[in-house]
């Protein structure tokens, strides 16, 4: 199926009948995820330059609406929001009563999700919807409700930022991959003109090769086709669309840094055991000199799931709301037990982040917690790069005899 620009607009309109439509848009100097009113809100003509601690938008007249890559937000901001009330109790004449839950929100339709986004979704599903695996049920009802209603429009990346390394973690750049569990209701590949630093396979006008991934997706396409004739994809467009992720992946493996070294990638081989057997490595102290313990990496990471729950009483003492809010292993409070923190040093917190993300995660959920999206690198104010930290440990895997951080 080929969708033209009018069909993209129509797609947003059709989705808006049933869903709250979220997608990429330019705000405050970055591509963020917000409510979309029309296709004009998409970041057409913008690309992003990303590196450690660095993000800049640039005009590129050849860029389509999806030639940026991932920004600071992710699906996590919507499915697992930063703050959310999970229960409320009120005292009426001395008797505490649980208030009825708030009316369910509109289901979400999210446009423009990439391979790494869908990979992160699959990882968060394993965290919040554990139960199908028979390991004891651990289902988060709010996440489950939003997840069940979620409509996904995936897009294949045509360029990668210097911070992207999904090619080495197996989470992209192809948006959908049935074998990797990355699925969407609709998947688009832009076949129009594109920026010089990407893979734009076809000339010709802006158009999107669209694959249908679910019955809901098919129903939406039918609704668009009802008043806008859609033509089936000619074989050359199908072939061009299939080439996009293949070419991009090849280009990512071939990238070079400005100093001629290999571009960013993460060697996943035996990564858990590598980290576990280097818990005393001097690198943890070295990275702690640079790390600010600011929590940014964990909060932008699309898979980090830590939260804490507090009961917030109002002044009357007659009403209390139980609230869940994001937490991070970089804060002192995260490891507070029996009145004190067990992770006073930044070295111990950085080690917690990396060993959990790439080690403990595998034990808990069967995969690493990293999709290679690069957000933690770009949005770290001092540009700390987990791929460089892992590489440094891999290079000199000498368990030191120094003190535990």
């Amino acid at each position: 199926m080929i969708l033209g620009p009018e069909a993209l607009q129509r797609l947003i309109e059709v989705l808006a009948l049933e869903y709250r439509v979220i997608g990429p848009t330019v705000a405050d100097g970055a591509v963020v995820l917000r409510d979309l009113a029309s296709a004009d809100d998409l970041p057409t003509g913008w690309i992003d330059e990303q590196d450690g601690g660095h993000y800049r938008l640039q005009r590129d007249e050849s860029a389509g609406p999806f030639d940026h890559v991932v920004g600071p937000h992710s699906l996590k901001n919507f499915l697992f929001p930063p703050r959310e009330p999970i229960a409320r109790f009120e005292r009426v004449e001395g008797v505490w009563e649980e208030c009825a839950p708030a009316a369910p929100e509109r289901p979400l339709a999210v446009i423009g999700m990439r391979g790494c986004d869908l990979a992160a979704l699959a990882i968060q599903d394993r965290v919040f919807l554990r139960g199908d695996s028979g390991e004891g049920e651990a289902i988060d009802p709010a996440y489950q409700r939003r997840r069940n209603g979620l409509f996904l429009v995936a897009v294949d990346c045509r360029r990668a930022a210097a911070t992207c390394f999904c090619h080495s973690t197996g989470s992209g750049p192809a948006a959908c991959s049935a074998s990797a569990g990355r699925q969407a209701d609709l998947a688009l590949v832009d076949l129009g003109p594109g920026p010089a630093d990407g893979v734009a396979p076809c000339a010709g006008p802006r158009r999107y090769e669209c694959r249908i991934g679910s019955e809901r997706g098919a129903a939406v396409i039918d609704a668009i086709a009802a008043d806008l004739p859609l033509r089936p994809s000619p074989p050359e467009d199908v072939a061009a669309a299939e080439r996009v992720p293949v070419d991009l992946e090849r280009a990512m493996w071939a990238r070079e840094r400005s100093d001629g070294g290999p571009g960013r990638s993460l060697d996943m081989e035996n990564i858990r055991d590598l980290l576990y057997s280097n818990l005393e490595h001097p690198r943890w102290l070295e990275v702690a000199d640079r790390c600010l313990s600011c929590t940014n990496c964990t909060l932008v990471c699309p898979t980090c799931f830590c939260a804490s729950v507090t009961e917030v009483a109002d002044l009357s003492g007659d009403a209390v709301t139980r609230e869940r809010h994001w937490a991070s292993c970089f804060s002192l409070d995260h490891a507070r037990m029996h009145g004190t923190s067990v992770r006073h040093t930044t070295a111990s917190r950085y080690r917690q982040w990396l060993t959990h993300k790439l080690g403990g995660w595998i034990d808990q959920f069967g995969t690493s917690g990293c999709t290679g999206c690069g957000r933690c690198i770009t949005w770290c104010p001092v540009g700390i790069d987990l791929t460089a930290e892992v590489a440094a440990i891999r290079e000199t895997p000498a368990p030191s005899t120094g003190p535990t951080p």
């Binding site: 930063p82 001395g94 790390c291 600010l292 009483a313 770009t378 001092v382």
Partner: protein, 281 residues
């Protein structure tokens, strides 16, 4: 997660709790934090039925004698008389809470601590002989034990209501010790340091303001003082390498909480280290 509580729980009616008697004091300060009390009362008039403000000159001339259950102290110690008075206040307050940057770190006026006090006095006052002042502006906690610090310039009304609620029911106040960055991320604010190259003190500053400056496109000024594990050296080395001039960084650290120990040490490092020549960005 299923809710462990039954839908209805009957509890004994709480025993009558006496309203705490509260005093609010002012030292060297601008009164902004005291105004936040009035703002909080405006937002939550029921506060007045929960606590008795029996000594609050910003609000009323009527003063009841101590002792008081809770004393809130705004402002820093800048005179010998201040230093004496805070000891008396400590004696008459069961719980002592300092509020705002002045009381918790010495405030912007602590910049005098790096200068020569006689020169300041001579420059400002027509008759310096009448002025009796200390050479320094210091935090209340440098003079007497303090039970709790509420940071900010000014303090946040939400945090003020939280601490009052906590003190009324006798629990520990819940105030975050993470960085302002955590609030940027929770509010969905795009990082001004990363996306615009604006030097921002947020990564080393305690949360509490809901990232109001980054939300308006500005870097954090550090109003809430140092976060729980601040690393100013790394942050400033990074800003300097990105082309921010050292005197601009020094001005940033020499701000509202200049005398807070981590900021003070960083200001001294920036002033002492040889000037690093950096290429224009």
């Amino acid at each position: 997660m299923t809710n462990p509580l039954p839908a209805k729980i009957a509890v004994a009616a709480p025993a009558h709790v006496r309203r705490p008697r509260v005093a609010v004091y002012k030292f060297a300060s601008c009164d902004g934090c005291q105004l936040q009390f009035l703002a909080a009362i405006g937002k939550h008039p029921e506060l007045l039925s929960k606590v008795d403000f029996v000594h609050f000159l910003e609000a009323s001339r009527a003063v009841e004698p101590g002792p008081y259950d809770i004393g809130f102290v705004e402002g820093s110690v800048t005179t010998a008389h201040d230093a004496e008075r805070i000891r008396e206040i400590r004696r008459e307050c069961r719980t002592l809470v300092t509020i705002g940057a002045c009381a918790t770190s010495g405030g912007i006026q602590a910049l005098r601590n790096w200068g020569k006090i006689d020169e300041f006095v001579a420059a400002v006052y027509a008759s310096p002989a009448f002025i009796s002042t200390l050479a320094t502006s210091t935090a209340i906690a440098e003079h007497v034990p303090v039970d709790f610090e509420l940071r900010g310039c000014p303090i946040d009304t939400g945090q003020l209501v939280e601490i009052l609620t906590a003190l009324i029911v006798g629990r520990k106040p819940r105030v975050p010790s993470t960085s302002v960055c955590a609030e940027c991320k929770a509010e969905g604010v795009v990082c001004v340091a990363v996306a615009r190259g604006v030097p921002c003190l947020g990564p080393v500053t305690q949360a509490g303001c809901r990232a109001i400056c980054p939300a308006h496109g500005r870097g954090c000024f550090g109003c809430f003082g140092p976060s729980d594990t601040p690393n100013l050296v790394s942050l400033n080395l990074h800003y300097e390498a990105a082309g921010v001039p050292r005197d601009e960084l020094l001005r940033l650290v020499h701000g509202i909480n200049a005398w807070a120990p981590p900021f003070r040490a960083e200001a001294d490092r920036l002033a002492a280290a040889p000037h690093v020549k950096v290429a224009a960005p």
